[in-house]
């Protein structure tokens, strides 16, 4: 069976109204193959509802979402196309991990042995016959990923997969998702852990109050929102340095305790200008742009805007 080895997720004007709120409001974005896309937003931004609509579990009020051009509910073999990890509690408490996976294999016509293969992939082989209720949150997340990998899908959708994982587990997950994207798969990961996303994602989609705020490569989104680099500089001659920097067309804000905040240049440039002007420096710190600040800038005042 031949199939294209990549598939985009395309979200087109997706909207979900509940009785008293718009959980998702006219949301459009695209998720590209071969990249990890971070789906970011404050709690209650509508991330989970959007993902559940993409996966056909929640019916949109209007709009549509397709994966490789096909709606999830129209796929004859969705498990082979899309793997999803939605919540860490999605198995029967009294059933073993292996049986939980075998049921999915049976329903989708996969051989039972796939259950053991994916358990090995996520490092749960030794607890395959243990009941789900004895699993820690981290083990449940791994089981969720195992279930998502059963059909060797070309698209992966994960809702807050880092929840409940220890730092080692988070590194394991990051390496796994990066490797899967490197194979050409499409990976969409929702999270509110921004630092983690900065290390993991190639692209970001940022939403708040159900609406799209920004979409694009991480570097681009950082550049747009955090603007140019900022530098903190401390000197016994603040007035002289401020004048020098303003001559060089840099923006300078002085604080009463002698600290200058400079934007539009990096630490090397500010240091050089101070040196040539003969100004003594006591501190020179570059503040690199980061996703966290970009995110806070973007979502400021919007989280509670329903």
């Amino acid at each position: 069976m031949s199939r294209p080895n990549y598939a985009e997720i395309s979200v087109d004007r997706l909207t979900k109204h509940y009785a008293r709120m718009r959980a998702v409001d006219d949301l459009s974005f695209t998720v590209h193959a071969g990249r990890v896309t971070g789906f970011l937003g404050p709690n209650g931004a509508g991330k989970t509802t959007a993902l559940r609509m993409i996966l056909g579990l929640v019916t949109p009020t209007s709009g549509a979402a397709t994966i490789g051009g096909v709606r999830y509910v129209d796929m004859p073999d969705p498990i082979r196309q899309v793997g999803a990890v939605l919540e860490a509690s999605g198995a029967h408490r009294g059933r073993s991990a292996r049986n939980h996976l075998r049921i999915i294999c049976r329903a989708s016509g996969l051989p039972d042995q796939r259950a053991d293969e994916v358990l090995a992939l996520v490092g749960l082989s030794t607890v395959a016959t243990r009941k789900f209720k004895s699993f820690s949150l981290g083990m449940r997340q791994r089981l969720g990923i195992a279930a998502a990998m059963l059909g060797d899908p070309r698209v992966l959708i994960l809702d807050e997969p880092a929840n409940g994982l220890d730092p080692e587990g988070i590194r394991w997950m990051r390496d796994l998702l990066r490797a899967l994207a490197a194979e050409g798969r499409t990976v969409l990961v929702s999270s509110h852990l921004l630092g983690e996303m900065q290390q993991l994602a190639d692209d970001v989609v940022i939403i708040a109050a159900g609406r799209l705020l920004r979409q694009g490569p991480v570097a681009e989104v950082l550049g747009e929102t955090a603007g140019t680099a900022r530098v903190r500089v401390r000197t016994p001659q603040p007035d002289q340095l401020a004048a020098t920097l303003r001559d060089a067309r840099l923006e300078v804000v002085a604080t009463p305790d002698g600290l200058l905040r400079v934007s539009g240049a990096d630490a090397a440039r500010v240091g050089h200008l101070a040196f040539t002007a003969g100004v003594e420096l006591h501190e020179l710190t570059g503040e690199s742009a980061d996703l966290e600040r970009a995110f806070l800038d973007l979502t400021a005042g919007k989280a509670g805007a329903r």
């Binding site: 019916t59 919540e87 198995a91 029967h92 059933r95 073993s96 049921i103 999915i104 329903a107």
Partner: protein
């Protein structure tokens, strides 16, 4: 077929099935003992017994009951287990995994109906096998004849299978409609165990208030329909057997269709 296999695996891989199997044992035991005692009472009357025919105390009725011992409990357990096949998915939050694997949700409901019918057949096979061994023993020791040659015995056994299957379908349909596990279990148990008394009283009251013809409508009470199917018309006014089957089938179809429509629309969150 894949989905039926998956549903059977779901059933086999939790402790639910053997809890129900254990529950069946005392229910069957009590039913058998009761019918055995009834046979003894008839045996004590001697040959005149053949001439007696109150509504529920004829030789035919008691022999039939003995060969279908365990029907009350068996059908109750089949009904509840069928409903739980559905409600379990929501109670244990497995609906997400199930509907991600099979986005065409009506196929999942259909597979559950097939499995519920298989459960019904299995329970019927089990109790019938026991009855075919124990009922002849009971009958020879009381009335002195197994009655195995009588066609009505075999008709009763066949109808016993039919009620098991029909109630299984009603169970799945109600499980889809009443998503709450506890709600479905309690509703169905009450309906099945004391529904006849309560609903007959309601119909009597309505007939009193409005018009006597309403009383004829009481056949739409599922347990009464089931009784009609099993026992046949008891008096000249009673409707024929097949009406009972039709009513049960209508319930199963209505609950199943309505429930499936709702399940298709419902947001799984």
């Amino acid at each position: 077929m894949n989905l039926v296999s998956a549903e059977l695996l779901k059933l086999r891989t939790t402790s639910l099935w053997w809890i129900f199997a254990l529950l069946l044992v005392p229910l069957y035991g009590v039913a058998l003992a009761f019918n055995w005692l009834a046979a003894r009472a008839i045996g004590a009357l001697g040959p005149e017994a053949e001439n007696i025919s109150f509504s529920s105390f004829s030789v035919e009725r008691i022999v039939g009951n003995l060969y279908t011992s365990g029907q009350f409990g068996g059908v109750l357990l089949v009904l509840l287990l069928s409903a739980i096949l559905v409600t379990n998915e929501f109670f244990h939050l497995t609906a997400t995994a199930t509907f991600l694997t099979t986005p065409r949700r009506e196929l999942v409901i259909l597979a559950k109906m097939v499995v519920s019918v298989l459960i019904a057949v299995l329970v019927w096979l089990l109790t019938t096998a026991l009855n075919l061994v124990l009922a002849p023993v009971a009958l020879t020791s009381t009335v002195g004849d197994t009655h195995l040659g009588e066609p009505y015995v075999w008709q009763a056994i066949g109808l016993n299978l039919l009620v098991h299957v029909l109630w299984a379908l009603v169970g799945v349909g109600c499980g889809v409609l009443i998503r709450s596990q506890i709600g479905a279990t309690i509703t169905l148990t009450v309906l099945y165990v004391v529904g006849t008394q309560i609903l007959t009283a309601v119909f009597a009251l309505l007939a009193n208030l409005v018009d006597d013809s309403i009383l004829r409508m009481r056949i739409i009470i599922p347990t009464l329909a089931s009784d009609l199917l099993v026992s046949g018309p008891q008096s000249a006014d009673d409707l024929p057997r097949w009406v009972g089957a039709a009513v049960l089938l209508a319930y199963a179809a209505l609950a199943g269709a309505l429930g499936t429509l709702i399940t298709r629309q419902r947001d799984i969150a």
